[in-house]
Every structure is written in structure tokens, then in C-alpha cells.
Symmetry: C2
Subunit: 509 residues, 2 copies
């Protein structure tokens, strides 16, 4: 697929450029150490990935926290486990002071992972497996391989890209710097969260209770994939999120659709009508007032978006898309809200299909919120609109009296909490320092993305810590995060180690 | 539930009226015999229902055919198995000549059944189980019961209502008449089909190859449920049917909907848009020209529909519906086409739900065809419309080049064959004789339904046999046909025996 060829071309070019641009950075020393220790790094990473870490299994999450604490202690960190409340998932706080350093940088990542029940895992999600480049993805005996490991090989495991990779590159960067005799230039705090994939329900409270411990001058958010071009990028926030599951109701029991189809309301059609009343095919949201709170896009943000390299035509080819919706550029929609219909289900298909009117239908929706919007206001606008459309909104399965009293009943189950968008300034000394450090490491100007399309609960954290935040991602964009066959490309692991080595030893402001 | 109370009231009333109207019919003799043999009848029916008969398992279908042939032979029938081709499901033909009879009546039913994989069967579908009236549905030891069996008890098993019940009432009616020394007044042919629930793919061919054997003066079609009022009804046809499964395509792999939701087309939304382009919420079909071929409803049919008793408000209560679509009367839509969206599925829900754009979405649709329409024309109109709407229609999973060349791709898999509607005249000597015979048995004027909403392949049969056809149903309307917990109410079984005894010994034209 051409997208991969382009990534390779960019990678080769940047390697070439980097060779001539690395003066003054630890990059060459780090690279030399990495080349001599590739198998050890992969072995360490595999050990970390082999620990089951599905966010909903607290006992597994705790084992990861203890294991990561041990890894940090070996590198000289003082560690402790922070919790919002007893019985909630721990975050690992590690602190490594640098004598004489003026600045303290807090590095965020999360060590918990998404569920693993998806169909189609090539190998077990907690048996990390090396595979050749796509589309072959054949298993490789990397331990027995002679010479350097192919940077296009990928290590497959849950959380390889999201987000244990960010933890591994920090650990390996410190190992490389120590071997090269290069000291960090800043005080380092790591804050590794354990409930991100459960929606960070307790994370803001955890941070709020530990503000003194978490004090710093800069927050580096190490989550999410890199730019599709393969170029290193930094970002300055995430969209917010809120979501609901909806249920519509037909007859109390399935009805033969020959006898009743022209008379009994059909949940399948109700779902379709509901969706088309919420958004159109281009993605425009039809709820009145939905865009009123959206912060207008600044000229600086427009310029930054316009400066991103073109990836769209290659992406379409890689994804088999004959068109796109919204604006022509992928990132054009990131400063706007999006209504995603994640799933719709009603009725039987396949061998058990019956000519029947289903008893109910279900819909799963998430809203990605632009800066300026809040989950509470979105819920209010949505429910007011749906009520005006004739829906009677309930919170539980309606009883018979309710069913008979209301022609159109909609059960809405909103996700607890949700989050607003995070948006920090693209300029300022700390942000400039991050961009400059990464630029020195990779040898080209880092891409600046005003905001990423995905969501996180970082807004509450940034607001409480009152620090600039910069997002630094190291995972390949096609790492299958949240899905089956999650993976991290080895070349991204290598590059990430160099970037993080720069961030702890070559950050100047 | 009030609907049941009403059924009971009607049944009680009709029993009362029948007592005074039975003069000259075999009804009282048949009833007396039935009262003395209730447990034997139920035991015989249970034995018939305990034979697995899912239409897709040919070996099971064959065992049913052999068993039913034996039951017929015991009653003096000459039997043979008819097949369209070697290896296709057999129909059982049984012939019982009546010396001196001028008329031959062909009784149709089918002995195969729907799949049984539905969730929620109270007991195994092939272990017939007696249960008390709804909503309790508690198991009953009917074999140990003292006195008459409660007519509101129901026997639960696949095909109890659809359609082995029609076979049992014929067998028991003949037993009752024989015991009473009453001879049939017509030559009887029974034609029991074995692939109705597979769509009768070979049945028209089977009939066409055996026209001489199947010659008769009247075809009585013994399938489908009774009127919701609990009154005996006869019908004069079925709607036709054609159906398709549709697949729409998103990205080749699931995409994080935060990063890609505003740019990548979503299969969930495509499905919703597709549905709302095909029909509106009231059931009106939006395909241009779709109603052009529909035969206008005659004044006689309008009058017959208007004469049906009101069941709608009780039905809504029983089904938990706060509204209906289409016309106010259930049967008003039966002479019009209906587009049913049987199922829609895309994306994950529940614990494995991901914030992802699905790779594809699926839709299952059937059209119930009014008199005048054909499956071929419906397919043509539908595909022309969808093409005009921008869909590129394919027959297989599209390859990458196809995906890239067409913005909107729709895979359509049409059901083989389908059928046109069957519609025979509501008057004429044979039809009048059937109505009169049933009227004498039940003691009130039988309801006349111009057409039933469901479909069958009988049009081809009627056209080939060139005989009047009348549909006579005996199953309770709420027999859960095609679903879990299919059942036949005992009172319906008793009434059906009397109706069939009348049809073979008291049919005069």
C-alpha cells in the first residue's frame, strides 16, 4: 500500500537529514546504544506487554502498577501509588531529581488497556509477537535474528501503541543516556495512569488531591498516534467527549412482518429516522444550537492546520475509501464537534433471521466536543431537540403503562462524566522548547497540530496543574489502538527513544 | 391482558350460538367424540410434533413425510411422496375416495418448520409441552389431569401452529367422523408440503409435474393464524414476497472515531440514510413508480375489510404499542405493498464496544407484494432508484479497485425467486360452500378476508391447478409462529377438528 511506502520514504529522508542536524543532541549516542541493545529493549517491552492490563480488571491493573514502579525504582526514581479513593485504580508517580535543574517536566502516559474480546486477533493479545511489515504480518523469530532488527517489523500486543510504548521509550531513553554518561537537564516526574481506558473517572480527583506532588513547569502528554505522514508531531490538546446508548421500542414480542408490517411501528426504521434527525451524511449535526458554543478557529490554528502535509489521498487508498465526508483535509474537523454513530443493532440476520418486526433497537453514539462545548450542555441540547421531535425520553425499560401512554419512547443512557476539550497555547517558552528539542532530534521542523481529534480527560488535569501541556506521540498511526492486533512498529520505538532522550536532556527554556 | 378476555368472550358466545345452529352438521357428534378422546388426540399431536422438522434438514423432513404417510394410510388413504427432483424435499400426497362423490377437494398444509435457534424457548421445541394460559404459561401434567382439558391450555412445540396443527385436525376429524358413522361427502386429497419454510423453491415444479394427480374442484389452504378476534375466518389469497440483504462499506479496518469520525464515511449513517430513502416512518415506500402496478382495491374488498371486527385497540394493549402506522385498521394495508426492514447491524455494542467507525453495515429487507406486483419488477425499480441515488450496486464483496472507484457502494443479495400475490375471487359456488359449511359448524357468519398480509408461493399452484382456493386457518393468532415458544391453544385444536369435519362431510355445491 502506498501509504507505507511514503512512510518509509519520509523515515529514510528524516534519518538522512537527522544525521546532519544532530550536533548538540544526545541522539547519536542514544542511537548507538539502541543499536547495540535492540533485543534487550524488545525483551523488556515484551515483558511489560505480557502483563494483562484490561482497564476493567482492577487486580491486573494493580500488578502493572507494581511492575512499573519496580522498573522506575531500578532507574533511580522514587515512586508511589496515588489513588483518588481506596479501591480505585492507582496511578504510578515516579520522581527523578536532577541536581541543579531549574525545570520540572511531568510526563503523562497510561498503562491500562482496552478490552481484548474483538474478533480476529492473530495471536493472543498478552503474548507479544513480532511480525513482519504489513500486509504479510508473518511471525518472526526476532530473538534468533542475526544483525539489526527490521524497523518495519511490528510488535503485536494490547497496549503496544496505546500506551505502554510511551512508558518503554522513557525507560529505554534513560538507560541509553546513563550508558552514554549524559545527565538529564530537568527534574523528571512520570505520572502513569491506570484507568484511562475506563474513562478516567477518578483521575481528576486523584490529581486534585496531589497537586503539590505533581507540581511542574510543563506537562508532556504521551498518548495517541503520530501523524499519518510518519513525521513527528506535537499537539496542544484533545477534543472532549460525551456519549449515550439509546433504545427504541417496537411491539412487546416479535411480530410476523407480513401480518403486521404495515401497521406496527418498526424499531429498525425508528433508529434510521433518529440517526438522520441527529446528523446528515456529511457529518453536519442537526441539533439546533449545537455549534453556538464552539470556540471560533483562530488564524494561528488555521495556519497550523494548513501547514500539515497532505496525507488524505494516500489514506483513502490505504483505507479503501472512494470518498470522504466533511472538509477535504482530515484535521479540518478537529476544532469542530463530531457526532459518531458507533453502532446500530435491531433484528436477526443470517441463519436465524426471521421475517419479524423486532421488539427493540439499539444505537450507540459519541459526541467529540470542540473547545467551548460541555457534556452537560450537549446533553441538554440533544434531549430538548429529541423531545421536540416527539420522543418521550426514559431512563429505564418502560413499563406497559408508559408504552401505551407515549407513541415514541426513547431510552437514553448517557455515559457518566465525559470531558471537555483540552486546548493549550501553541506558542510560549515551554511549547517552543519542546518543538525545538524534537526538531534537533529528528532533523526537521516538528508538525504542530492545534488539537487532536480524539478525546482525553486532560482538561481537568491541565486546569488544576496550571501548566502548559504539549502532546508528544510516538506510535505509528496504524497501530490498531482499541482494536484487534494492536501493534507498535519497531522503527517508531527506536525513534521514540531518541525523542524522549532529547526531552529529558536537551530541553532548553 | 384484555385481548385474551375478549377472545374468551367470543368463544363462549360462539359456543352458545353454535349449539342452536348445528342441526344437520356433524359438529355435535364430532364434539362428543372429541370430549371422550381429548388425551388421545393430544398424545397423537405430541407424537407428530416431537419429530424434528426444521426445513433445512432434509433427513428430518423425510422422516416426517414417512410418518405422516403412515398416519394417512391408517385412515384409508393411498399415499405417495412427490418430489420436483431427486434429492429435493418430498410432499406427501394422500387420496381418499368417497364412493358416489362428485367433488374433489385438495387440502394443502405443510409439515416442515422454521429454524429453532431463537433465544428464549421455555422448553425444547421438539419436546411438546402443555402450559397454562398466558401470561403464566406454567407446565401442566395433562396426562394426569382429571376431567376435560382446559381449552385455554396451549401445547408448545415448533410447528404446533405453523403448520402441523392443520394436519392433526384433518386426522382427528376423520377419526371422529368414522366413530360417528358419518361418511365424507367429497373425494379428499391432502397435499402436505415439506419445504414451505425454505421458501417452496421446488413446489411449483412439483405441482406442475403432477397436475393429473392433484386435479380437484377446490383447494383449501390450511396455513396461517386465525383472526385476532378469535372468530373463524376464511381468506382468498396471500401477498407475494421478495427480499434482499444489503451491505454498505466503510474503511477497510475499524478507525478510531475521534481521529477519523469527521472525515471517514460511516456505515451506520449510510444504513440509516438508505432506509429513510426507501420508506418513511408511516410505511410509505419512496421508490418512484412502486405503486403503479398495484391492482386497485375493489369495492367488494373494501366492504369485506370494513366488515372485519375491531381488534386494533386490544392489539395495541397486548403489544404495548402507543401508536400504529399506516391506516387505523390492521388489514387496511394488506392489499398494498409493505417494505419491512427486518434487521440492521453495524458496529459493536456492550462490553466490547469500541469508539470506532465500523468497516461495514448490514441491512435485511423484505417487500410484501400486493396483487399486480412481481419480484422482478420490484427488483428493477429498487435498483434503478438506488442507482439514481448514487449507489454503485455490486453482487460480491468489492475489491480495492472497486472501492476506490465508487464513492457509495452497495452490495445487494436478492433472495432467489420470491413470489407474486395469490388472489382468488371471494364469491363463486365453491367459496360460498366453504363459508356456509364453516358457518353451520361455528354458528355465526365466517369472517371473509380478501387477502392475508403474509406471503406464500400458492399463486403458482393455483394458476397451475386452475381451481378456486380458500384459506382456512385454525391456529390462534398469537401462536408465536416463526419465533420461540410456538404453540397451539387447545380450544383452537378442538374447534379446528369440528371445522375440518364439516369441510369433508358437509360441503355442498
Amino acid at each position: 500500500m502506498r501509504i507505507r511506502t511514503k512512510v518509509l520514504a519520509v523515515a529514510a529522508l528524516s534519518a538522512l537529514m537527522a544525521t546532519s542536524a544532530a550536533a548538540g543532541t544526545p541522539r547519536d549516542a542514544v542511537r548507538a546504544w539502541r543499536k547495540a541493545h535492540e533485543k534487550e529493549i524488545v525483551a523488556d517491552f515484551s515483558a511489560l506487554l505480557s502483563l494483562p492490563n484490561v482497564a476493567t480488571t482492577l487486580s491486573d491493573v494493580e500488578k502493572n502498577a507494581d511492575y512499573i514502579s519496580g522498573l522506575l525504582q531500578k532507574r533511580g526514581f522514587k515512586t508511589q501509588l496515588l489513588r483518588a479513593q481506596p479501591g480505585t485504580p492507582p496511578s504510578v508517580l515516579g520522581e527523578l531529581k536532577t541536581p541543579g535543574a531549574k525545570r520540572t517536566v511531568v510526563f503523562y502516559a497510561h498503562y491500562d488497556g482496552q478490552p481484548v474480546g474483538q474478533q480476529g486477533w492473530l495471536t493472543s493479545p498478552f503474548q507479544p509477537t513480532m511480525r513482519t511489515a504489513l500486509p504479510d504480518a508473518k511471525t518472526v523469530d526476532w530473538q534468533g535474528a542475526a544483525g539489526p532488527l527490521d524497523p518495519d517489523w511490528r510488535l503485536y500486543a494490547r497496549s503496544a501503541g496505546d500506551d505502554k510504548g510511551s512508558i518503554q521509550v522513557m525507560l529505554s531513553a534513560l538507560d541509553a543516556l546513563k550508558a552514554a554518561g549524559i545527565k538529564p537537564s530537568v527534574n523528571i516526574k512520570v505520572l502513569y495512569e491506570g484507568e484511562e481506558e475506563q474513562g478516567s473517572a477518578h483521575f481528576a480527583e486523584l490529581v486534585g488531591k496531589n497537586l503539590a506532588l505533581l507540581k511542574g513547569d510543563l506537562l508532556i502528554m504521551g498518548d495517541g498516534p503520530m501523524h499519518q505522514s510518519g513525521k513527528q508531531q506535537i499537539n496542544f490538546g484533545n477534543r472532549g467527549i460525551t456519549s449515550f446508548e439509546a433504545t427504541v421500542y417496537g411491539p412487546l414480542k416479535p411480530l410476523h412482518d407480513g401480518h403486521y408490517g404495515s401497521w406496527a411501528p418498526s424499531p429498525t426504521v425508528m433508529l434510521a429516522s433518529l440517526i438522520m434527525s441527529l446528523r446528515d451524511e456529511t457529518g453536519h449535526i442537526l441539533i439546533p444550537g449545537f455549534y453556538d458554543d464552539v470556540t471560533p478557529v483562530s488564524e494561528a490554528d488555521k495556519a497550523a492546520l494548513a501547514a500539515l502535509p497532505d496525507v488524505e489521498s494516500d489514506l483513502k487508498k490505504a483505507l479503501g475509501l472512494g470518498r470522504n465526508i466533511g472538509g477535504p483535509r482530515l484535521a479540518d474537523g478537529y476544532l469542530q464537534p463530531t457526532l459518531n454513530v458507533r453502532a446500530i443493532h435491531a433484528g436477526d440476520t443470517g441463519p436465524q433471521a426471521a421475517n419479524a418486526i423486532a421488539t427493540e433497537g439499539r444505537l450507540s453514539v459519541d459526541f467529540r466536543l470542540a473547545p467551548g462545548e460541555t457534556p452537560a450542555k450537549v446533553k441538554e441540547l440533544t434531549e430538548a431537540y429529541l423531545t421536540a421531535q416527539g420522543w418521550f425520553i426514559v431512563r429505564d425499560t418502560p413499563d406497559l403503562a408508559t408504552r401505551l401512554a407515549h407513541p415514541k419512547i426513547l431510552r437514553l443512557d448517557w455515559e457518566e462524566g465525559g470531558s471537555i476539550a483540552t486546548k493549550t497555547p501553541m506558542d510560549g517558552p515551554a511549547a517552543d522548547a519542546v518543538a525545538a528539542s524534537i526538531g534537533r532530534t529528528v532533523g526537521y521542523p516538528v508538525l504542530k497540530l492545534p488539537i487532536v481529534g480524539a478525546s482525553s480527560g486532560m482538561a481537568d488535569i491541565v486546569n488544576q496543574l496550571k501548566v502548559p501541556m504539549v502532546g508528544v506521540s510516538i506510535a505509528n498511526y496504524d497501530d490498531n489502538q482499541h482494536a484487534m492486533n494492536e501493534n507498535l512498529r519497531l522503527g517508531n520505538l527506536w525513534d521514540g527513544i531518541e525523542v524522549y532522550a532529547g526531552l529529558v536532556s536537551d530541553l532548553k527554556w
